[in-house]
């Protein structure tokens, strides 16, 4: 039987009070409850506070470049679709530097799960605006305040027909754990945007700020309806919905590739002996 101890990793270098601690707990608990052993899972992360995550649990780990979690995760998933693959990124990481990969990973629909630690700020680099920072917020690199419309990752994902779109909150660990489990159970690419207070640099979107606004979607909400989902995704202000915003069944990338029908690519021995036949084509 797996326990939380199996997921005890390095000592986190996060600030005391950081929302990342709760996400780590939710993740570890979800793994235990899903009975996934550390060696069965692999986390691909980027650079940022969120990017350090895999070192603080226990799992196969590819802690890659800032912004490039999704292509690495795709390469891994396509090469070994038996692994449970997670991509963990920051909001700058995934919606800024890596924005293009998000678009196209959603289109591809590989069966792995993306957790975005959305603290609406660049944490590790000390407080510049991220794509989700609210308008008007002043930072050292936004001397006149943020002028761009914040990116709404959920609306974006729904627009691209992402197969699983959800929002969690670091302050609601049990709910977040549930979301992670649901995402894992779902077949296809899942985006969980997690509201994560950054106590050091985001003085606007604090625990209190979120707590006042968030509410959990209940059973009356039907996440299969795309138009409804779009409306729900736009809800941001006095009330911020948590939960599964949108879910749909679409064929995954892996299952469409004939080569992967038999077994994972990594198990398939290269057919080097057949090269002779191929050579013959050149005559």
């Amino acid at each position: 039987m797996l326990t939380l101890k199996d997921f005890k990793g390095q000592k986190p270098a996060w600030c005391p009070g950081c929302g990342n601690f709760s996400i780590l707990r939710a993740f570890n608990e979800a793994m235990v409850e899903l009975e996934l052993a550390p060696h069965e899972i692999i986390i691909v992360s980027g650079i940022g506070q969120a990017g350090k995550f895999p070192h603080y649990t226990r799992c196969n780990t590819f802690n890659g470049l800032h912004g490039r979690t999704l292509p690495v995760a795709t390469g891994i998933k396509l090469s070994n679709h038996q692994l449970k693959v997670f991509a963990i990124a920051g909001d700058g990481d995934c919606y800024g530097e890596g924005g293009n990969h998000l678009l196209h990973t959603i289109r591809r629909n590989p069966d792995f799960k993306l957790l975005v630690h959305n603290n609406q700020i660049y944490g590790l680099t000390k407080g510049q605006a991220s794509p989700t920072t609210l308008r008007g917020v002043l930072t050292k690199t936004q001397p006149f305040g943020v002028m761009s419309e914040p990116l709404n990752p959920l609306a974006l994902a729904v627009a691209l027909d992402c197969s699983f779109v959800a929002r969690g909150f670091a302050g609601e660990v049990t709910h977040l754990k549930w979301l992670i489990k649901e995402a894992v159970k779902h077949k296809g690419f899942a985006l969980i945007d997690i509201l994560q207070p950054c106590v050091s640099f985001n003085k606007v979107n604090t625990y209190q700020w979120y707590q006042k606004r968030v509410y959990q979607l209940d059973d009356s909400y039907n996440p299969e309806d795309r138009k409804l989902a779009f409306q729900k995704a736009l809800e941001w202000g006095d009330k911020i919905p948590l939960g599964i915003i949108y879910r749909i069944n679409r064929p995954t990338l892996e299952e469409q590739i004939p080569v992967l029908k038999k077994e994972p690519l990594v198990k398939q021995k290269p057919k080097i002996e057949k090269i002779k036949d191929l050579l013959n084509n050149f005559y």
């Binding site: 390095q10 052993a37 550390p38 060696h39 069965e40 692999i42 691909v44 650079i47 350090k52 895999p54 070192h55 226990r58 799992c59 196969n60 780990t61 590819f62 802690n63 890659g64 470049l65 490039r68 999704l70 292509p71 690495v72 995760a73 795709t74 390469g75 891994i76 998933k77 396509l78 090469s79 070994n80 038996q82 692994l83 293009n100 990969h101 678009l103 196209h104 590739i257 004939p258 080569v259 992967l260 690519l265 990594v266 398939q268 290269p270 057919k271 080097i272 057949k274 090269i275 002779k276 191929l278 050579l279 050149f282 005559y283």
Partner: protein, 573 residues
């Protein structure tokens, strides 16, 4: 026998169809063939050509003079008529060119009319042309008929019939009309294989067990992608077109980390976008292979033309210091074996390997008796299944005597495979510690590089063993310079020193004496700044003073180069 055929016309007129068919007919007849192409960055119009040379002995370059010029437009005549040898012939259709040329060596055949009459479709004009050329050469048409059957059988018997008729009509009319045609072909012998640089790399990759290929289309590398994609089904390869080159390189790094051999291909601009990923492969010690098919830059440059000006860029590409392997094959044969070697060494030493080609090599076709498959190497250096499971205390980046750490497969055992783009400890966790940092740098650079150097072959010497005149070149210049050496060997004690395993340099350095002892050393490069000469100076201390460069996007020709070498030689006095 040594004939050259040039097919010129606009993009979209079927130049490639005619050229490819002819090249295949000739290799099937057992001739040696060399072909190269010149095309613009457009889909229709402009001026393109396809040049085929045939001989009964191995040939390695195109020649300036042509024996048959097939003009699909007037431009082809204006541009290339002067390249004709004395007994040369122009084949054209005055109804297509809307002009008649009243010259003795111009053969005006009603290609279009024959196509409509015998093939029933104007698209058959290419087939008529092929027939006519075979007719002009006085070649037995049987091989052509076979090829037509083989090509069109998938599309139905009717199409086969029509094409056969069209080809035959062209053939017969040419035999009848071309009174001045005096070409004499050699006897047919064993069929040869015909292969381009891009195909050879693709073939080499498949022969090395590539299982994952991801790329973003970019001329002139796309041929590799096409080739591998075509074989994906038969060889169980996953190919994925990425949204950009950054994604492509990160995908293959992921795939390699997961345990399969992985590769990407691109040209200079796309490679520029991959440079950060290259550094990631360096830091995480993930084996990958990158084909970099060069074209003239900077920026978009001349996107369908040739140049070899990314050598130093590739050599130092990526921030921070990490080893990489650079190969620059001289012909498709080398491309095949060096791709195999790139996969082998990349995995053995867990470093990125780059295969440098250029548009000229990528698109040109060479013919060979065969490739020797026993020369291929396939060793799986990864720890899989039981061999991983039975280890105790696995550490992905463990310090070892060789600097090479065990490369495990994530998920294959309860050992966790961990790596990081940050500096890390033996387990793969990120660190700030100075001592571990130093050991990791030593491991990656100072331990691996000397071992890697042992695997590298010295350059190839062709020609005189103790040359007075030494021509230095690298990569795709091999075939052209080789023919120059052949021609000059009547007058000089001349040799070529050709580099294909570019970096690191081989441990074996006796060849440096050739450079020091030759009376004249000329460095030849398809770029403006003699990049290889710089690398040579860095590695050997030898500074070459004479350089011949070409950087207009067109390959050197044998005749031009011969003259420039002669001139450079004379300059000495």
């Amino acid at each position: 026998m040594d004939y050259s055929i040039k097919i010129g016309g606009e993009a979209g007129q079927g130049i490639q169809t005619i050229g490819d068919a002819l090249a295949h007919i000739f290799t099937r007849a057992g001739f040696y063939v060399f072909s190269h192409q010149d095309y613009e960055s457009r889909i229709r119009g402009g001026h393109n050509f396809y040049q085929i040379r045939i001989s009964d002995r191995p040939i390695t370059a195109s020649r300036n003079r042509v024996h048959i010029l097939v003009a699909l437009d007037r431009e082809s005549i204006f541009l290339h008529e002067r390249e004709l040898v004395e007994e040369g012939q122009v084949l054209y259709d005055s109804s297509l060119l809307r002009e008649r040329f009243e010259k003795e060596n111009f053969l005006d055949l009603p290609l279009l009319k024959l196509a409509l009459e015998f093939g029933g479709d104007k698209i058959m004009v290419n087939t008529v042309a092929i027939g006519a050329i075979i007719g002009m050469l006085g070649m037995d048409p049987e091989i052509m008929f076979e090829l037509i059957k083989k090509t069109f059988i998938k599309k139905g018997i009717d199409l086969v019939e029509a094409n056969l008729k069209a080809a035959k009509a062209g053939y017969e009319l040419a035999r009848k009309e071309c009174l001045r045609c005096s070409f004499r072909l050699s006897e047919f012998t064993e069929p040869k294989m015909l292969i381009s640089g891009n195909e050879a790399i693709g073939l080499g990759a498949i022969a090395s067990g590539v299982k994952f290929y991801s790329a973003y289309p970019m001329t002139p590398s796309t041929g590799i992608f096409n080739f591998i994609a075509e074989q994906a089904k038969d060889f169980d390869i996953v190919v994925e077109q990425a949204e950009d080159e950054i994604s492509a390189i990160n995908m293959i790094i992921g795939a390699s980390f997961a345990g399969v051999r992985a590769m990407t291909g691109t040209s200079g601009g796309g490679f520029a976008l991959m440079v950060e990923g290259l550094s990631l492969a360096g830091m995480t010690e993930t084996p990958i292979v990158v084909a970099l098919a060069q074209r003239p830059g900077p920026a978009t440059g001349l996107p369908t033309r040739t140049e070899a000006a990314d050598l130093l860029f590739a050599l130092y590409a990526g921030h921070g210091e990490f080893p990489k392997i650079l190969f620059a094959p001289g012909n498709p044969e080398q491309a095949f074996y060096l791709t195999n070697k790139a996969f082998d060494l990349a995995e053995k030493f867990q470093v990125p390997a780059i295969i440098l080609t250029d548009q000229y090599l990528a698109d040109s076709q060479w013919s060979y008796q065969s490739f020797d498959l026993t020369k291929l190497k396939y060793v799986d250096y990864r720890l899989r299944g039981d061999s991983l499971k039975n280890l105790s205390g696995y550490k992905r980046h463990a310090f070892t005597d060789t600097g090479v750490s065990p490369l495990g497969i994530p998920g294959d055992s309860s050992h966790l495979i961990i790596t990081d783009s940050d500096e890390h400890d033996e387990e793969g966790h990120l660190i700030e510690d100075a001592e571990i940092r130093v050991k990791m740098v030593q491991k990656r650079l100072f331990q691996k590089i000397p071992l890697l150097k042992k695997e590298i072959e010295p350059p190839t010497l062709y020609g005189e063993k103790k040359p007075d005149l030494l021509l230095i070149c690298w990569g795709s210049l091999y075939g052209i310079v080789k023919e120059v050496v052949d021609e000059l060997s009547k007058d000089f004690k001349v040799a070529m020193l050709h580099f294909s395993e570019i970096f690191p340099f081989s441990e074996e350095v006796s060849w440096v004496n050739l450079i020091k002892e030759a009376k004249i050393v000329i460095n030849i490069e398809q770029n403006a700044t003699s990049q290889f000469a710089k690398l040579l100076q860095l590695e050997t201390g030898v500074r070459i003073k004479k350089h011949i460069n070409r950087f207009d996007g067109r390959p050197f020709t044998v005749d031009e180069l011969k003259e420039r070498v002669n001139y450079a030689y004379l300059e000495r006095f």
